[in-house]
């Protein structure tokens, strides 16, 4: 499995972890009647906090991923070439992580899918607002659609890395 495929899986896991944590926290509070479901201030604060947590978690997980991957590549190269050249080993790690035109094309295609998911989420939220007028539900659908969009983007990235990609 390539570095890019592993990175897509890590992004997927991050989105699932953060969305899962948000779900457990927010709905735990509502279920236990600690806050009212229509308390917009609670939803706004919770979402803002979880956006911050999401950014921090993503950075930490990506950092850990890079460190672990660098160690794995160094160990692999060392066992393959014996003691070898330290500088050469460093360049192997770098070239395994290089981003080129194929990665950019895959990223563009995955971003398109993410955007479509977010638009579907937005329209669904508006439709639900007509059927069931609740700002909390609308906000949660919007918030969830960003994470699901990110998740869908990572799935598409993984798909294109596995199957291959063409222009057009």
């Amino acid at each position: 499995m390539s570095y890019q495929e592993k990175r897509s899986i890590v992004s997927m896991l991050t989105a699932v972890i953060v969305l899962g944590a948000y779900w457990l926290y927010a709905y735990g509070k509502v279920q236990s009647n600690a806050v009212a479901a229509d308390d917009m201030r609670f939803w706004a604060i919770t979402m803002l906090v979880f956006i911050g947590i999401g950014i921090v978690v993503a950075v930490v997980i990506q950092l850990l991923f890079h460190i672990l991957l660098s160690i794995a590549v160094a160990v692999r190269e060392k066992s393959r070439e014996g003691d070898g050249d330290e500088q050469e080993r460093g360049s192997t790690i770098e070239s395994d992580m290089v981003t080129d035109e194929r990665d950019q094309l895959i990223e563009l295609k995955s971003m398109r899918v993410s955007f479509i998911v977010v638009v579907i989420g937005f329209v669904s939220a508006l439709v639900l607002l007509i059927i069931h007028p609740s700002m909390a539900v609308m906000l949660n659908i919007l918030y969830g659609s960003f994470y699901i969009g990110s998740l869908a983007g990572s799935v598409i990235q993984l798909f294109y890395y596995k199957r291959g990609i063409r222009y057009g």
Partner: protein, 76 residues
């Protein structure tokens, strides 16, 4: 709508002829990742014109000697 072309290539053969150049060495020469070279060789990715020219330059051959497409009259 025009039919999509299936691009073929001789990179594996050219690498072998070029003193058994590795995929990593080719990737370093053209500024791409090894995964991209693997994908091109396997026909899973058709590179941009720029990268295609760089690959041809790396082997010191004409671009037509590296890439072709299936169904071309007189194709290799």
């Amino acid at each position: 709508m025009a039919k999509k072309l299936h691009i073929t290539n001789n990179i594996r053969k050219l690498r072998f002829s070029a003193n058994e150049m590795t995929q990593q060495q080719l990737a370093d020469k053209v500024g791409a990742s090894r995964q991209t070279i693997i994908a091109i060789e396997a026909g899973k990715y058709a590179p941009s014109l720029e990268l295609a020219f760089k690959i041809a330059d790396a082997f010191d051959v004409h671009i037509g000697d590296v890439f072709d497409y299936e169904g071309r009259a007189g194709g290799k």
